[in-house]
C-alpha cells in the first residue's frame, strides 16, 4: 500500500498530466498540503515509485528559465493509478463515521 507522501505525489502528477515534472509536482503538493515539500523527499520518493512501477520518468528538454537544465518528467502508470485508487478508497472507508469526515455524524 502507498504511503501518504507517495499518494500526494501521484495525485499531483496525475493532475499535472503531461506537465508533471519535479518543480511543478512540488508546487502542486505544497499548495495541496500547505506545507513545504523538500527536494530530497520528492526525488527519493520519485525513485521509489519508479522502482515499484507506479510511475515512469524521463529527462525532458532544457528550458531557459531553468538555466538550460532539463526537467525530470513524470508519467503515472496504470499500476500507479490502481494503487492510488486503492489508497483513496481505503482512506475514504476508514474515514466514514469519523468526526472530521465531511457530511458524517459527529462521533467524538
Amino acid at each position: 500500500m502507498l504511503g501518504e507522501f507517495e499518494y500526494l505525489l501521484l495525485a499531483a502528477a496525475t493532475k499535472l498530466g503531461d506537465d508533471a515534472y519535479g518543480a511543478a509536482i512540488r508546487q502542486e503538493m505544497e499548495v495541496a498540503t500547505g506545507r513545504r515539500c523538500s527536494i530530497g523527499a520528492l526525488y527519493t520518493t520519485l525513485d521509489r515509485l519508479e522502482a515499484k512501477g507506479f510511475i515512469q520518468t524521463r529527462m525532458g528538454d532544457p528550458t531557459p528559465q531553468r538555466g538550460g537544465r532539463p526537467k525530470r518528467m513524470v508519467l503515472i502508470t496504470g499500476e500507479g493509478v490502481r494503487e492510488a485508487t486503492e489508497f483513496f478508497d481505503a482512506v475514504t472507508r476508514a474515514s466514514r463515521g469519523v468526526s472530521w469526515a465531511k457530511g458524517d455524524e459527529v462521533t467524538p
Partner: protein
C-alpha cells in the same frame, strides 16, 4: 566571495555529489522555483544526505570502508609519520647549520644531494600511495566516495593519535599524503582514464631503497591494484529502470543526418570522442572490433566527435584510422544533454532507445563487451 556567493558555491559543490541527470533536474528545479541560496543549499544537502545514506545499504561501501579505507588509511598515516620524522631531522640539521662555505667539500655536496633526492622520492612515494589508495577506493564504490573519503582521511589522521595501533614514531603528519588521498578520490571519480602520470610516479617510487623501500613496495602494490581496477566499468540497468536516451540529429561526413530515432531496433554504442583525446583513441580499435563482430546481431557503433575544429581535423584523422562505424559531428546542446564534461564518455543504448549503461572515462573493454552481449540478447 560574499555570503550569497559562498552559498551558491556550496550548492554547486554539494550538487556535484548527485548523479548527473539528477543534478541537472534538481538545479533546474531550484532555478525555476527562484529559491534563495540557503533554501537551495538545504534542499540539495537534504537530497545528498538521503542518497548517501541509501548507498550504505549495499555491501560495496562497507567493503571499501573495512577492507580499504581503514587499513590503507592506517598504513598511509604510519608511513607519513615515519617519513616526516626522518626527513625533519635532516631538514632541521641542514637548516640550522647552513654554511655556504661547506659547498667546497665534495662529501657535503654528495650528502646533500643524496638526502634531498631520498626524501623527495619518499614524499613522492607517499603521494603516489595516497593517490593509488584513493583510486582503488573510488573505483570500488564510486557513489560512496564522499563518505569513504572522509573516513579514509580520518583514519590517516588518526594514525597520529597516541591511541592508534602500531604508533611507533613521533613527529608531524604528512600533508601531501593526506591531500593526495583526497585529491585522488576526486580524480578517480571524475576521470578514470586520464591518469597518465601514475606510471612515472611509480617508476620513481621503485627506486627508493632502505626503510623507504618498504613504502615504495607498498606504493607499487597499491598503484598496481588501483590501476588494474581503474578502468571504467558500468552496471547494466534493469530494463524497467532505464531512461530514454536524449534524441539527436547530427550530420556525418557526407552530410547525411543521423538520428537516434532512426536507430531504434538496434543496440547503439554511442561514443563521445575527440581527436586530441588520448583515451578516446585507445578505445577506437576496441569499438571497431565490436562493430565487426556484433554488427550482424544488431549493434551500431556511433562515434560523436566533439572536436571544436570540426571535420577539418576529424576527416584527416579518419583517413589514417580504421573506423568501420559511423562518425558524426557533435555540438554543444547534444553534449550538454548527455552531460559530457570530459572525454571519453560511452553510452550503451538498448533497442528501445533507452540508456542501458554509461561509462565515464576510459572503458574496460571486457566489461563493455559483456554488457553489449547481454543487451543484444534482449528484444
Amino acid at each position: 566571495m560574499n555570503g550569497h556567493g559562498m552559498t551558491w558555491w556550496l550548492v554547486e559543490v554539494f550538487s556535484r555529489m548527485l548523479a548527473r541527470d539528477e543534478r541537472d533536474a534538481v538545479r533546474g528545479d531550484i532555478a525555476e522555483s527562484g529559491e534563495g541560496g540557503w533554501q537551495a543549499l538545504r534542499d540539495v544537502l537534504g537530497l545528498v544526505v538521503r542518497r548517501q545514506a541509501a548507498l550504505w545499504k549495499g555491501w560495496r561501501p562497507w567493503l571499501g570502508f573495512a577492507a580499504l579505507a581503514v587499513p590503507l588509511g592506517m598504513e598511509l598515516g604510519r608511513a607519513s609519520l615515519r617519513t616526516a620524522h626522518t626527513s625533519s631531522i635532516y631538514i632541521w640539521m641542514y637548516a640550522n647549520n647552513w654554511d655556504w662555505s661547506l659547498f667546497r667539500y665534495a662529501g657535503f655536496r654528495h650528502d646533500l644531494i643524496y638526502y634531498a633526492a631520498t626524501y623527495a622520492l619518499a614524499y613522492l612515494t607517499l603521494a603516489c600511495s595516497a593517490w593509488a589508495s584513493g583510486f582503488a577506493l573510488g573505483w570500488l564504490s564510486r557513489s560512496a566516495i564522499p563518505l569513504n573519503a572522509g573516513m579514509f582521511c580520518l583514519t590517516v589522521m588518526l594514525a597520529k593519535s597516541p591511541l592508534a595501533p602500531f604508533r611507533d614514531m613521533p613527529g608531524g603528519g604528512n600533508a601531501p599524503g593526506i591531500c593526495a588521498g583526497v585529491l585522488s578520490h576526486r580524480v578517480s571519480m571524475d576521470r578514470a582514464g586520464n591518469l597518465g602520470s601514475a606510471p612515472r610516479a611509480l617508476g620513481n617510487a621503485i627506486g627508493v631503497e632502505g626503510e623507504d623501500g618498504m613504502i615504495a613496495r607498498f606504493a607499487l602494490f597499491v598503484v598496481l591494484t588501483g590501476m588494474a581496477a581503474g578502468a571504467e566499468r558500468a552496471v547494466l540497468q534493469p530494463a524497467g529502470q532505464r531512461k530514454a536516451a536524449p534524441e539527436f540529429a547530427l550530420k556525418d561526413s557526407s552530410g547525411k543526418t543521423v538520428t537516434l530515432k532512426k536507430l531504434r531496433g538496434k543496440v547503439v554504442l554511442l561514443d563521445f570522442w575527440a581527436t586530441w583525446c588520448h583515451g578516446c583513441k585507445e578505445e577506437i580499435p576496441w569499438f571497431a572490433d565490436f562493430q565487426r563482430r556484433y554488427g550482424k546481431q544488431g549493434l551500431q557503433v556511433v562515434g560523436v566527435s566533439l572536436d571544436d575544429e570540426g571535420w577539418k581535423v576529424v576527416k584527416p584523422f579518419l583517413g589514417q584510422t580504421d573506423v568501420p562505424y559511423r562518425i558524426i559531428l557533435g555540438n554543444e546542446p547534444t553534449a550538454k544533454q548527455y552531460g559530457i564534461e570530459n572525454m571519453p564518455d560511452t553510452y550503451l543504448i538498448d533497442r528501445q532507445g533507452r540508456i542501458a549503461a554509461a561509462y565515464i572515462g576510459l572503458v574496460d573493454k571486457d566489461d563493455v563487451e559483456a554488457n553489449l552481449k547481454a543487451i543484444l540478447k534482449q528484444r
